[in-house]
Amino acid sequence: MDRPRGLAFYLLAGVFALYVLFLYGPTLTILALSFQGPSGGLTFPMNGVSTHWFAKLWEGVGVVDIWAALRRSLALGLVVMALTVTIAFYAGLAFRKGFRGAGLVFALAVSSLIVPSIVVSLGIGLEFRLLDDAIKALAAATGWGFLEDHGTLMGLYTSALGAHLTWTLPFGLLIMFAVFNRFDPAYEEAARDLGASGPQTLRHVVVPILAPALVGVALFGFTLSFDELARTSQAIGGRNTLPLELQGLTTTVTTPEIYALGTMTTAVSALVIGTALGLTLWLQKRRARRAMAGLR
């Protein structure tokens, strides 16, 4: 639509600007309020500017060990990120080749997005409870000592990890589809003609070309996991992730400490995403440099 910009352009630009303002309003509010003075409350006006509430946060929020929750969420996010990239990438390859049951697996992935999170969460919670019951029954029936002090299988890297993957993998797979649809198979054929084996083609041709998209999938995986609340809620053992702790805190904390917490979690996300974006840019630059060196 290469027409001169008319009224429609300015109207739509206005809508977009208002939307962005609407999006950022709350984020900027908590950013400002987290630097509230020591005597300030949950709302405006600001009573001076201080880092008082960050210091309070550093000491810990009430009975909840927020730092342990943050560490758990970070660790889980990174594991989910790695698994999402790996599993989605290989699945993308498989779908490109085609296999019997591809339609079914795809339907499962789409269902995983469509089924309400609370239902998935409840199902996984039930699954692990029934597994625990089964193990206890087995211990009682056989008298095997190693089973007798069985606690629960539910936990961060079992049920919660699974719950997060049901949310991140469909997105990862959809992105991989979009990426492979635009991927020129001539590159692979060229590699094969030059005598590269399958794994060599993957490692030296496909992965480097797709690297930016893979970083994108990784980012998506991390952000979705780090923020995930609904699917985790019923599928976590005794140790909560950060969003779950935050949800609990909304009803108990009545000081700007919670805003400081919000600012901090945003900073953590920004740090991870910034690092990843920087890495992508660096990779692209390096590749361009090498290509230039190859031409010379």
Partner: protein, 311 residues
């Protein structure tokens, strides 16, 4: 529910068949590569849903669940629904459906307008990428935090009320800004519009610009082009976005809780409370009803489109 996307499944199987038959080794490899994905969905989606279905038919008391068949849990869900005044379940669903409708009524035009702006009016790819990034940065803040940050804006002595009072537009603060239906819908729009923008943008970006030029050459007005050319071609994106928003709102239990001041009922919250009281079969029955409701709502939409062709 797996038969939802079966049209897509069949076409995929058909197109894949010839290449698969020819190369048995590649086929084995493809199975290996898809296996982890399939296993994750089997272990954390299929089995849990089947178990939920089974447990929803079990009996329970205060201490344990008893593997004995009963339809009592479903009877409890719909208890009193046949009488003249609405039962709790039906009221809860009506309230949730109302939120779905209101949220869609706002996110759909808003998402379309923004996607349209990005797809047709932003010419440089870099600027477009930058604007997209601008829309995603707020999502780096936790959803829960973003919800409570409405409090200093909408509260009794919040920024909005204070500003309006300072401007002399109102005398007493508006009470219903926070902890009300308005606040809930506002939060949904805030959280979910992006799920509308991205699929619609994807559809719009794939429209062949020559079609629009042809329409204009044939004398179509801007409104006619929008209505007869662009909108039909954007339908898949609109459908996908609608499915996303519907599911997110139907299954929600956090937003309604926080923004409604824990006063407004939602189906997700009912399930959560029942889980907390260890009434697993009751929660499972509610979950199955919710699942059925959601699937019914989006069945028509999935029929209309072949999702995989849209990427």
């Amino acid at each position: 529910m797996t038969d939802l996307a079966l049209p897509a499944a069949e076409t995929a199987a058909r197109t894949a068949a010839p290449t698969v038959a020819g190369r048995p080794r590649r086929r084995t490899l493809a199975y290996l590569q898809a296996a982890p994905l399939a296993l994750v969905f089997l272990a954390f989606l299929v089995v849990p849903l089947v178990l939920t279905g089974i447990v929803s038919l079990w009996e329970y008391n205060e201490y344990e669940i008893i593997p004995a068949l009963t339809l009592q849990n479903y009877a409890d869900v719909f208890d009193g629904c046949l009488s003249a005044d609405l039962c709790t379940t039906l009221r809860t669903y009506l309230s949730t459906v109302k939120f779905v409708a209101l949220t869609l009524a706002i996110t759909l035009p808003l998402g379309f307008a923004i996607a349209y702006f990005l797809a047709f009016y932003i010419r440089s790819g870099t600027v477009r990428m930058g604007l997209f990034l601008l829309c995603t940065i707020p999502f780096w803040t936790s959803n829960v935090i973003r919800m409570i940050s409405w409090i200093p804006l909408l509260g009794r002595n919040g920024l909005v009320n204070d500003t309006l009072r300072a401007l002399g537009l109102i005398r007493a603060p508006i009470e219903g800004l926070l902890y009300s239906d308005f606040a809930v819908v506002l939060a949904f729009v805030h959280l979910d519009t992006v799920f509308m923008i991205v699929p619609i943008f994807n559809s719009l970006a794939r429209i062949d610009r020559r079609l629009i030029e042809a329409a204009r050459d044939c004398g179509a007005s801007g409104a006619q082009i929008l209505w007869t050319v662009i909108l039909p071609l954007a339908k898949p994106g609109i459908a996908i976005g609608t499915i996303f928003v519907t599911t997110l709102v139907m299954g929600d239990f956090v937003t309604v809780g926080v923004m409604g001041g824990q006063q407004i009922a939602s189906v997700g919250k009912v399930i959560q409370v029942q889980m907390a009281y260890l009434q697993f079969p009751a929660a499972a029955a509610n979950a199955m009803v919710l699942l059925a409701a959601v699937l019914l709502m989006i069945l028509g939409l999935t029929r209309m489109i072949d999702l995989r062709r849209e990427l």
